[in-house]
Symmetry: C2
Subunit: 111 residues, 2 copies
DNA sequence: GGTACACGTAAGCCATGACTTACGCGAACG
DNA sequence: CGTTCGCGTAAGTCATGGCTTACGTGTACC
């Protein structure tokens, strides 16, 4: 159920900005936080959430921690969304049938 | 920027449950709320959010309001996520280069 | 035309979570 | 080795938002 965490993680605008800054390669926390309207600790907290959602990976190099995009979280969300796609295409079919949900009273038989 | 609203909408678990109940065809509010651990007004509020995010559509039939899945919101999210996919594949490339982010001091020339 | 149904909206409550500042810890540099 | 750098964590604050109950509105039935 990683998709749930991933969706929750991507819901926050600033956290999304943090995530988007990882496009183009791994970056240390300081570089990510630079220029953002929030403090560096805030960025650290966001990265923690993103990491738990499998949206980023972390590796250390000396005193720095590099973060990079992890495809696992993205993949989980994508699969979740795809589950609706096919169903949505059958929407009209279900519309035509509409067994479960009928009008309270039969429309008096259209002749 | 519908993808932002859509992500925020799909972040909430109960709202996701509401959304998932629309798989297989349109349903009126009462049918959606039936069996859920929250009140019917709560479901109405969730549907309002989903509608603003282009995740559901509404049409009226008498006194009922039927809600169905709208692909627009899903498509917006999908496109947003796809934007990362290609970039993520170049992660290793960027890893190899890593221009912008170098160690503070050159590693004293490996040799 | 009054009653009952299906639903949206208003107002208020309360938990969650996004932020801040302060602190601690380990790795590098001199 | 002391200092500085880069970062995570703790604790506390404040706004957001998800929920409730109460109410209002329009459509169907008799």
């Amino acid at each position: 159920m990683t998709y749930a965490n991933a969706l929750a993680a991507l819901a926050d605008p600033t956290r999304r900005t943090v995530f988007e800054r990882l496009r183009g390669g791994a970056k240390p926390v300081g570089a990510i936080a630079k220029g953002l309207p929030v403090s560096r600790p805030a960025v650290s907290q966001h990265l923690k959430v993103l990491k738990e959602a499998r949206l980023v990976t972390e590796y250390r190099d000396g005193t720095r921690r590099f973060y990079a995009i992890d495809t696992q979280g993205l993949e989980a969300v994508r699969k979740y969304l795809d589950g609706f796609w096919d169903e949505a295409l059958e929407r009209f079919k279900a519309f035509a049938e509409a067994d479960e949900v009928r009008p309270r009273r039969r429309k008096r038989k259209a002749k």
